[in-house]
Amino acid sequence: MSALSDPRRAALNAIGDVLIPAALGMPSFTGAGDVDAMVDHVLSLRPELADSLNQALDRVGAGEEAATAAERLNREDPDGLATIGLVASSAYYMVPEVRRIMGYRGQEQRPATADEEHDYMRDNLLQPVIDRGPIYRDPDGG
């Protein structure tokens, strides 16, 4: 079952494209992939966002231009606009294609390898700190 009615989804997608446009090599919100499914996923995990989201989307006038609506919501209902932004950006940054473009594989497993350890000793990065010696204060004045 869809988490949003058709009019609300249309409003979300329109404002989503204002908040997240195609620019700087990144796709727009609706151009990123199956954001409808991602939005539903977001709302299934964060159901407490639904009321605020629906109320904000219901404030968008029929036929109101999306950029105008976004500006107006930001003035009149900043929390509602923030919820739209949170839902849209959360969905967007979970789209695999968006992550691929960003070079982000998620919070990946990357256990340290031996050659990463102590690299600051091999190239003497830490040596100046060692050479300067102790910096702690001895309470007994020693």
Partner: protein, 537 residues
Amino acid sequence: MGEIAEVLIIGAGASGAVAAKHLAEAGVGVVCLEQGRQVEASEFYGDKPEWELMSQRLWHPNPNVRGLATDYPIDTSESDVNPLMFAGVGGSTLIYAAHWQRFMPSDFRVKSLDGVADDWPFTYQDLEPFYDHMDVEMGVSGLAGDPAYPPMTPPPLPPLPIGRIGRLAAKGMNDLGWHWWPAPQAIPSRAYRGRSQCARRGTCMQGCPEQAKASTDLTHWPEAIANGAQLITGARVREITVNAQGLASGAIWIDRDGVEHHQRAEKVIVCANGVGTPRLLLLSGGDRFAGGLANSSGLVGRNLMMHPYAATVGYFDEPLDSWLGPAGQAIHSMQFYETDTSRGFVRGAKWNAMPTGGPLGMRSAYGGAPLEEAWGENLHRATQKRFGHSFEWGIIAEDLPDPDNRVVLDDSLTDTDGIPSPKIIYRNSENTEKLIAFHLERQREAMEAAGAKSISTTTLMRDCGWHLMGTCRMGNDPETSVLDQWGASHDVPNLHVLDGSTFVTSSGFNPTATICAIALRSVMHMIETRADQRVAS
């Protein structure tokens, strides 16, 4: 529940787990009441795409944001800082960053050295063997020889790599001639005692899905239970009971079906953190102890310290993989830790160089700002600038004790069992504000030296009260302290507190290593002197 426990522990977090493990190993009969539940590693989102989304709600460190029934709500309307915590087996170690920092020798002698606050009733040297012991129990990774400390026993595991962000931060510090060192962490760089090697997912503060990070549900509770400790979850304590002799005799607790129980005990140890412990003491005592149990000094709940946190983020051209873990710190610095009165304030802070996480960041925090500032093309611009190309120097600012900063019982707010909630009354001091301003200026210099193309600062993060300290302070004088140096109440000799409430001063360090070392020292003393102690019969 008719049996009398030798020791009743309230709270299964860091100090409660240390106490339970060592008491049980010594053959002491232990019952622990924990209001939260056992959390499984599969419940954490660090290995899932939804990690950032869920970190803003289900795994948020602020109980008022999570709103779980296992949490108690907290009135923060009169506080500059929100207290952060987690109720469950392992407590807040489930979501801490595992910075495993010892206090410095000077931290125990603040009054003598700087003329402020108070000295502790013991010294760094008194605590050192227990720091050493806890390093082994937790599986600390670190590099011996940090010149910011006296010589110490090396930690059991080699340090985690400092990574690209650590190297960049270090180069900046070297240019300035300032101290830095690979940071000690309670995160295993090798597989250790049944725990995995750190996978560097960088999600430590929303729970470790790898079961690598040292949280006490993994490091202490299995052995405690194997040695006979009884752990009861979903058990919310509403009052510590007292017998006719004025000794603690147990606790009344409520199960998740709303049924009340009385767990009787010969001795009671409260380990409910720097907010939960004073709350419970203020709820207890009845007519005999007006103003709360163990509170003849009037100091239960007072001198709350929470370490106001400020930070500087530097943005760099080169890729830094700055979502890579550990989340807590790659390197630390104590260059400006000690007092220099020419700066116009006393005491100082530890710095920690940290990664900056995933792409979502705090998108929800932009509501009301000009639309074009946070969204549109600027969203992509800001994300590309920050994501993978930045790191943070954080400031753990020493918070001096002030009796006006306190935990009290709220007049109207309650938890789901109808027990009065705590209210936090807390304001930053002028000393803290000057300290933070100074450190932010120095951090800007450090970022510039590291080659940052741009820099941003956060002067005070409201959701930063991870470190809850001072609300049942230790001391030798019953008129100016709640507990003796072993965590025993001056008023009620078989009532002990072992969590961060005990702290006399806060230091400028993350406190869990010291909480655990103090708990261990106190429990070992309790075991050694058990034949001489007054207990409830």
